[in-house]
């Protein structure tokens, strides 16, 4: 998506215009390109708004979101007792092959947490 108008951005993200202006002013979302007359937005803006929205819904306050995004160390998301998923800020709200990544994460968790090694790995170990 490119060449979006401000109204399109509001419609796609479902966020109020004032909240979007706030996110732009605070640096959570980049400014429009093209100045006032030809202000346009793109995927980058949609993703940035969704990322902020997801992180807020996870309970992070704005200051913490700013730190996480600017530090780029990753966003820690508690999954279960003793298990925290760390996600790169760029991935949040971006879409893409979410199901594939989720499957890999699930496989890795299962591999790490299950009681014994599976048959293939047992053979490899021998």
């Amino acid at each position: 998506m490119t060449g979006l108008k401000f109204d399109d951005l509001v419609r796609i993200t479902g966020i109020t215009p004032r909240q979007i202006r706030y996110l732009i002013a605070e640096g959570f979302v980049p400014s429009a390109t093209g100045g006032r007359t030809y202000a346009t937005y793109s995927d980058v803006h949609v993703t940035a708004i969704r990322r902020y929205d997801r992180l807020r819904s996870l309970g992070f306050p704005p200051a913490a979101i700013r730190l996480l995004l600017e530090a780029r160390e990753g966003i820690p998301v508690p999954i279960a007792d003793g298990l925290t998923l760390v996600i790169a800020p760029d991935l949040i709200g971006r879409g893409g092959d979410v199901a594939g990544m989720a499957a890999k994460a699930a496989a890795k968790v299962e591999e790490l947490l299950s009681e014994g090694l599976d048959d293939d790995r047992k053979h490899a170990t021998r």
Binding site: P17, R18, Y22, L23, G27, G74, L91
Partner: protein, 557 residues
């Protein structure tokens, strides 16, 4: 190549960084509170001033503490760089939509709305760098009554730093700062003894002169009546046009009307409205004038309160219309000012939150500064309201939304309209010459007159409509072409012979073009869309007239 996704080091490290701060909020320069006690009500005017200290054009957003129960806000006046704006009521959704659109277009725009839990929020957009802004909020609210002979008034000026309202967006949430600013208080309380509390030792207020107060602590007044005074009843020329009366004790109300037949004052005044508000301490009944002209002092406040609890009036009135006339802020109605179109800044204003002072915790309020009387200063108290009006500018050093940069855009091509008119006349004459007939002198004269009238009616140089003029000229081409390509200017009428086969389809095609052309031009006519639509409809009517006339001539049967 390393990507951002691979930079996963320590997920908690970010929380230990302190150097990354957000956009600092704007802070207030001063706050002045002007209270007029009208028992059992109080009119409260809070005037906040701040300056755009940034180097950008901004939208300042201030979230205030929640309104008190039964508090009625009835006026917002904003002064930006010396130009004053009165906000007027609009439907809340429409006001917000218009406000957002105006900001996107770079216009000056002011919006005062109520969020959930009666939290007021003000957005003032289009503040140039260095401009001073003053926000006046007028409200009326009941006094607290714990005992018969004591009334209390509480006016919060600050907010707790951890004040959180669930469901409020970050853009709407209140922001606080530990920085202090100058704050003053003036109280007008005839026949009442007033003591200021909550600001150190109790401080008796004996005159209307302003005193300094702590902006981080709320204003708390204790009010007791002097001999002859009352905290249950207040009236001002109630038997005369424009007068008012308010009471919290049945039996003290004097004006006679259908809901109070026991009143002793009868009058033939036809301007009154009557309202009843239920408070925690009983009913408050108000009779006030509805019109905006010729009303007594403080009648606006009384009208707002009466309109909020509207019951009846001397003449039949719609409650919604009464509330609109009284300029009341509510969840359904916001107060707004939307600036007119004009030369605009190139950039969309940057939003900046405006911070309230952080409310002192109980433990910190041990030794607050003692209130002190100030020398009279030249601050203009807002007690004497100017005449009410629709949105207006009392002063206009710079037109709202005007471009003030040194490189202000001067309209180019001043002679373009004359040049276009001359070329059009030449082309028209040439067409007639090609057709073998000279342009009839009477038609020529008529066209010259039309052209001169059109040029005289051209919009002002600085309006966007004028800048779009070269494109607007396109709109007239369909009907001119229909005129030229039709039989109306041809006196031969083909001598009974069948007309050329292309003529009627061409006429119909031009009619279709005249309908579609203004719509197709809309995306390019920012700032002149209404004018384009009006001109498009006018041209469509002309083309339809020419087309229908032509077809009737060509097909007389």
């Amino acid at each position: 190549m390393m990507t951002a996704s691979m930079l996963l080091v320590d997920p908690l490290a970010a929380f230990f960084r302190t150097e990354l701060a957000g956009c600092r909020p704007l802070t207030l320069d001063s706050t002045h509170v002007d209270i007029t006690l009208l028992p059992p009500l109080a009119q409260v005017v809070v005037v906040r001033q701040f300056t755009n200290t940034s180097d950008q054009r901004i939208e300042a957003v201030l979230t205030l503490p929640p309104l008190a129960p039964e508090e009625v806000v009835f006026r917002l006046i904003v002064s930006i760089g010396g130009t004053q704006y009165d906000a007027t009521p609009r439907g809340a959704r429409r006001a917000r939509r218009d406000h957002d659109a105006a900001i996107a277009e770079g216009h000056r725009a002011i919006l005062f709305e109520l969020l959930k839990h009666d939290i007021p929020i003000i957005s003032v957009a289009g503040i140039e760098p260095g401009y001073e802004v003053e926000i006046q909020i007028w409200s009326v609210k009941p006094l607290e009554r714990n005992t018969d002979d004591l009334a209390l008034l509480f006016v919060p000026l600050s907010a707790r730093h951890d004040f959180v309202v669930s469901g409020l967006l970050d853009a709407d949430a209140p922001v606080t700062t530990s920085e202090r600013h100058t704050a003053t208080l003036a109280v007008h309380a005839p026949d009442l003894q007033v003591t200021l509390c909550g600001q150190g030792n109790p401080y008796p207020i004996t005159s209307r002169d302003p005193i300094s107060i702590d902006c981080a602590a709320p204003v708390q007044l204790e009010i007791v009546p002097e001999l002859g005074g009352s905290i249950d009843h207040c009236a001002w020329q109630v038997d005369q046009i424009g007068g008012w009366e308010v009471t919290s004790a049945r039996g003290t109300e004097t004006f006679r009307h259908p809901m109070n037949p026991e009143g002793i004052l009868s009058s033939d005044r036809s301007d009154w409205i009557f309202g009843v508000m239920a408070t925690r301490h009983g009913e408050i009944r108000v009779t006030a004038p509805l019109p905006t002209e010729g009303i007594a002092p403080n009648a606006r406040a009384m009208r707002a309160f009466a309109a909020a609890g509207f019951r009846e009036s001397a003449t039949t009135q719609d409650p919604e219309a009464v509330r609109r006339t009284a300029n009341i802020l509510s969840r359904k109605t916001s107060l707004a000012f939307i600036g007119p179109e004009g030369e605009l800044s190139h950039d969309i204003p940057v939003m900046r939150k405006l911070a309230l002072s952080e409310m002192l915790a109980i433990g910190e309020m041990g030794v607050p500064p003692e209130p002190v009387g100030l020398e009279p200063f030249d601050y203009e108290t807002p007690a004497a309201p100017p005449e009410p009006s629709l949105p207006r500018k009392l002063d206009d050093p710079i037109a709202p939304g005007a471009r003030i940069t040194p490189n202000a855009q001067v309209p180019r091509y001043r002679l373009l309209p004359w040049l276009v008119a001359a070329v059009a006349m030449l082309i028209l004459s040439g067409i007639f010459q090609l057709l073998g007939n000279a342009l009839p002198p009477r038609l020529l004269g008529l066209l010259v007159l039309i052209t001169l009238a059109a040029l005289a009616a051209l919009p002002h140089d600085r309006l966007p409509i004028r800048r779009r003029l070269p494109m607007l000229i396109l709109l007239v081409t369909p009907w001119i072409a229909a005129l030229i390509a039709g039989p109306l200017l041809d006196d031969r009428t083909y001598g009974g012979a069948p007309p050329p086969g292309w003529m009627i389809p061409t006429q119909l095609g031009l009619l279709a073009v005249s309908a579609v052309l203004p719509l197709a031009m809309m995306p390019f006519m920012r700032g002149a869309r209404h004018f384009t639509l009006a001109l498009g409809i006018f041209n469509f009517a002309l083309t339809a007239f020419v087309t229908i006339g032509g077809i009737l001539l060509l097909t007389p049967d």
